[in-house]
């Protein structure tokens, strides 16, 4: 009898209470409107292959998660770390950094082909209707892509980790987070023409309404080097004006509004300044709070500000939409580690 009691106590300890199989999240059936869409690039965790694209319908606030997977059920995996999304000649170019490839999709996000033989691509910049440049983290080169065949046809040696690029006057300005220079590439003959010292760790670049090039460098806290915001004259390749940040700050993700007269960037909170300002903003336009802002974009259609909060970088991101006065308009969830937006 005693044995039976003992055994039954153990059995009750063995058998437990929570069902192990997790509930698959059910994607609600959503009706898309004709309103403009916003595509959110979720890079996912490095090494986990859980990148995704979320689609946000500005007409009815519907969100479709894993939109790429939905449109490509036969081969749904994106790869590791979706870095950026660009539309060229009516096709989406989804750059997948750690898988060394660019997925080319039609405007419905159905995969057409992929560009391979890239090391760790970051961004794609169309130069002409036939040609695009691809920056690269480890490749020490800019890849040249033939947009007709969607193949890599050549490369331009470019040491360091190249990041965002901008095109003006047949010059491609290429930021670099490993070198203190932004390289200037002559896009006619694909050769490096010049380099401009913009400070350490520069990764983002925009061109304002006056055709001036703005480069934001994050600095290097380890070696107490301050970040810088520089305005470059693209004709002379000279820095016209430069603003220094405090060493404790690490500004990144420089963006421009539609009228190209106001700069936005992240440095904990969201900051903004007019291109005509003589000083860096002294306070955040939108305070950080407990958020970890990671992606930033300005919707050119309604001027609203989109910012992603990656939280602990291991759960679905929060996407906050702010009105132009800084008040919060909306908040919704997207995929893991949203790093940027593509606005239709």
């Amino acid at each position: 009898m005693k044995n039976i009691i003992v055994i039954s106590i153990f059995l009750s300890v063995t058998v437990s209470c929570v069902k192990d199989k997790p509930q698959d999240s059910v994607q609600p059936q959503v009706q898309l409107t004709n309103a403009k869409k916003v595509y959110i690039i979720n890079e996912g965790n490095f090494g986990s292959g859980n990148s995704s694209i979320s689609l946000y319908d500005t007409g009815n606030d519907a969100v479709i998660e894993n939109f790429y997977q939905t449109q490509n059920t036969a081969s749904p995996a994106i790869g590791d770390v979706a870095q950026s999304l660009t539309k060229i000649n009516g096709k989406f170019y989804l750059v997948v950094n750690n898988s060394g490839k660019i997925i080319v999709c039609d405007d419905q996000f159905k995969k057409l082909t992929q560009i391979t033989k890239l090391t760790s691509p970051r961004y794609i910049l169309p130069i002409t209707n036939q040609k695009a440049y691809v920056s690269d983290y480890n490749g020490n080169e800019i890849s040249i892509i033939d947009l007709n065949s969607n193949t890599k046809v050549d490369s331009i040696a470019c040491p360091g980790f190249t990041e965002e690029m901008a095109l003006i006057y047949n010059k491609a300005f290429v930021t670099n987070t490993k070198r203190n220079y932004t390289y200037v590439i002559n896009t006619v003959n694909n050769t490096k023409a010049d380099s401009i010292d913009v400070g350490t760790n520069a990764g983002s670049i925009v061109i304002d309404k006056n055709d001036k090039v703005w480069v934001l460098s994050s600095g290097d806290q380890t070696n107490t080097i301050a970040g810088k915001l520089s305005r470059i004259n693209p004709i002379t390749n000279q820095i016209e004006i430069s603003f220094s940040f405090n060493v404790s700050e690490s500004p990144f993700r420089l963006c421009l509004n539609k009228t190209k007269d106001t700069l936005y960037f992240l440095s904990g909170g969201i900051y903004r300044m007019a291109i005509s300002d003589n000083n860096l903003p002294s306070a955040a336009f939108i305070a950080k709070g407990t958020k970890t802002f990671y992606g930033l974009g300005i919707n050119p259609n309604d001027h609203t500000l989109y910012a992603s909060d990656a939280l602990n970088f291991n759960q679905k991101s929060n996407i906050y939409i702010y009105n132009t006065d800084g008040s919060q308009k909306k908040y919704f969830k997207a995929g893991l580690i949203a790093n940027g937006f593509y606005f239709e």
Binding site: N3, V6, I7, I9, F10, V13, T14, S16, V18, D20, K21, P22, S25, N45, G47, S48, G49, N50, A74, S75, A77, G79, D80, N98, S99, G100, K101, T119, S120, Y137, N138, N201, G203, S218, Q221, T222, E249, S250, P251, F252, L266, S267, G268, G289, T290, K291, T292, Y294, D309, A310, L311, N312, F313, N314, Q315, K316, N318, Y331, K333, L336
Partner: protein, 611 residues
Amino acid sequence: MALQNVEVIAKKRQLSQIGKKTEPVDSTIKEQFKFNSIAEVLSFNSPVFIKNYGPGQISTTAFRGGNASQTAVLWNGFNLQNAMLGQSDLSLMPSFLFENIEVEYGGSSSLWGSGAVGGSIHLNNKPLFDQGLKASTNFGAGSFGLKNISTNVTFSNSKFITSTKIYNSRSANNFNYVDTTDKEHTVKQQKNASYDFLGLMQEIKFLINAKNILSVNAWINANKRRLPSFDLQSESKTYQRDDAARVTANWSFINSNFRSGLRAGFFEDKINYTDSLTSLFSKNKTQTIIAENENYLTWHQHHQLNFGFNFSSSSAFTTNYESTKTLSRASFLAGNKFSFLNGKWLTYVSGRAEYFSVGTLPLTGNISTEYNLTKHVVLMASTAKVYRQPTLNELYWLPGGDINLKPEQGYTCEGSVNYKTQINAFSIFISGAAYSRKIDNWILWVPGVNGNPSPINVQQVWSRGTETTWKINYYKDKFSYKINLVTGYVLSTVEANSLENDNTVRKQLIYTPRYTVNATILIGYNKTALTFFNQYVGYRFTTSDNSQWLDPYQVSSLRLNYSVDTNLAEFILYTACNNLLNKNYAVLQGRPMPLRNYEIGITIKTKKKNT
């Protein structure tokens, strides 16, 4: 009296195990893993979840819902955790080095200090006096270019022991695996995953006189390995070297009612990491000095007082910090063991106070008790305050390290029942435990600006669960049968998190399976044993909001030891088939494991001296 048991460190282990579930790894089972690391031993024989990146790759623990830095890995009582990382890589610890492996469930910070939160893994050397000259050599080979060689030469007389162990384990490790996400190229070969582990362990022990024992242990190892890309990455050119030198000295004084021990250790760990693709070259070295004194005074026939001091200091030499950084800690420990009802009821109470060179550490303590209800049933209960100090990386890593980080701390309590009986040739052992632990200021690395991670005291975690062990052994004449079943059930959830619109509260921690079941069936005849191991690991979440997960896996291994005795020597032939059912599985996301694979080996042992 076995002399090795009088050593003072063994007393400490006995004290920490009062009122708590503790299980040694069965010696016949351990024999089946002599070519494997501690990681494999534990993953097949305990509910400790081993986070394994692949064969020969980093293996760390998740024990009772805690993370790797919340498990103490103790070599003869010295904590082996790397002071920069706060964790130990079990794949670099061959099981053959240790005569005894014990799993101590539940935290015991007042005895073992920082890190003993989820539990402790004890790796002990127990060389014996008076054994004469003994030597054994193991040769092993296996799939994917696996080669193992290890040798142990021991000499002992009544006053002196020397034991030398040398090992080398290497593999090309280029196994095939199935990538279900790639429909065009489903079968792939693992690349850049080779390893080569080399080490030497030397022990010397003197019985100076009836009251004094001195021992010196050294363990030096040099481990090279390539780190493969995970399955979606285009390629990897990473290479890592883990070198360690560990030297300890131990003096024990034993009197009829007083024992005292002085111990000191020097530990150097080097981790050099090279990635030629990203031009990342990282050199890291830590040096730790530990000095310890422990005293045990039997002040009453039934009661024993213990007290002691511990000083430890760790320095890190790395380009990832502003300069060389040092953490020092001085602790005072006192406790008392009470024994009532002729030893049927034991209680141990202890407390520990510490000085820490950076910030403060909590006062910790524990109360534990066990009661022999009947000849067959033991009831145990324990409660303790536990903590983990921030690691050197968490405090000083640039950028991100935070000097103001607080230690993780909390309370743990548990109750367990052991039932043991002998029915004819059957011996039966059943044990069940339930526990609950709340930890505040749980440290998480949260990437900040530009993705540079920074550790923060972000959340409160509640871990609770149950474990059971079922063992039925049958011995008759030359036959033996063993059936072991070990289950683990863990709920480890975030209770509070300070981030806005965070979705991790009440969610299970990542890579913390709720269910693990290990089953072992051994059939033995004479010195020949056939063993079937089966391991089931339930769902592991890969994101902290539990929106993504990995499916459960079940993996089996069949191992055979066949012993041949000759006049000259004893030969033990060994063969194993791992992943018997050829399952495609991964313990961690994107880190494939090999399909079915084989090992063979032979052990040659000198005959035991008949005295």
